[in-house]
Symmetry: C2
Subunit: 199 residues, 2 copies
């Protein structure tokens, strides 16, 4: 079995969302699984001392470019009025689910991305996260208990630290057998890399 | 005659170079001219208080990704040992040439990009810049005199200020009838925008 593709992302990243709509199909085409690896981009930016959205020109561009790129991909994307905000609960849930049923973690993450970016749901709310996880067969009360579990909280911190240590510096960030690709605009290269083994 | 496409770039930008190899063909396909608009990205970064290359992870990625993207495009790209460095003389020359023979400005700029990124020539050297301009029919001594002319120096400052005032925040940065596209990875969208009038 070849290595899984590492798909690093933050749920608050519109480009992470765009990539989430295609990554499983790309991987499947080449016989690969996807390891969905949410991390907290706020912790990364704090360490870098840099927040892209604090630059007015870049912020205005992002708000214009992400929906335009979504339309080009036939994907529904609407910035929630609450953007940007830390989306911690769904990130915790991904790792908790992955430990119990790995394929369900990707399905949950993709559904959570859609809930926030296409359906306008409040992904900061553990109840909403539990509802989405319930669609993958997990009992809501179990999910709510997990989201409040110190071990689950610690897990996300550990994973975030590991992502930063692995030189992840943005979202989405895709690693294929050690080869890094940053950005939803590298999906075509990701597809080609998997098809050819590199160039 | 439709508006020219504004192509903002800094000669020291590898992604500016990649875009320079395709922008004229894309524009021509849709009956457009290209206004080549070099600016000094150092002045921009100073104003933003941000230098991407000062982030070790992003720097290492850029040094790996730009040649990889170039190979994917069948373009020769080698980082000069002196990278990064301010490339001011060729930027001054573009505006001086554009005032005398507009189509020659693009041909000169594309040749200067290739000289630096594919041929390893010292683009900080006015003599090298004058040689490249000579291939477009300009007398070397005229070019050397222009590069030292306070009015030509001032022109590049004015153009850099205007680019920043127009919300240009990176290189390359392409504007079509007011619609902004940032990055060499938006060339396919630029092509589609010109073909369809937008989406």
């Amino acid at each position: 079995m070849p290595n899984a593709i590492d798909f690093y992302f933050d749920f608050s990243s519109p480009y992470g969302y765009l990539a989430s709509t295609r990554i499983e199909a790309i991987a499947a085409r080449h016989g690969r699984l996807v390891a969905w690896r949410p991390f907290l981009i706020g912790a990364l930016y704090k360490q870098l001392g840099y927040v892209p959205l604090e630059q007015p020109g870049k912020r205005a561009y992002l708000l214009h470019d992400a929906p335009r790129s979504a339309r080009a991909m036939d994907v529904t994307l609407r910035f929630p009025p609450s953007f940007p905000e830390a989306l911690i609960a769904p990130a915790r849930a991904v790792y908790w689910i992955a430990d119990r049923n790995p394929p369900a973690a990707g399905a949950f993450a993709a559904a959570a991305f859609r809930a926030y970016w296409a359906e306008g749901r409040k992904l900061t709310d553990p109840q909403v996260v539990a509802e989405i996880a319930a669609q993958q067969g997990f009992a809501r009360d179990d999910v709510l208990a997990a989201l409040a579990d110190p071990a689950v909280k610690e897990r996300l911190k550990t994973e975030t630290d590991a992502a930063i240590a692995n030189n992840v510096f943005g979202s989405p960030f895709i690693v294929i057998d050690g080869e890094p690709f940053w950005g939803a605009d590298r999906l075509d290269q990701v597809d080609r890399w998997l098809a050819t083994g590199g160039w």
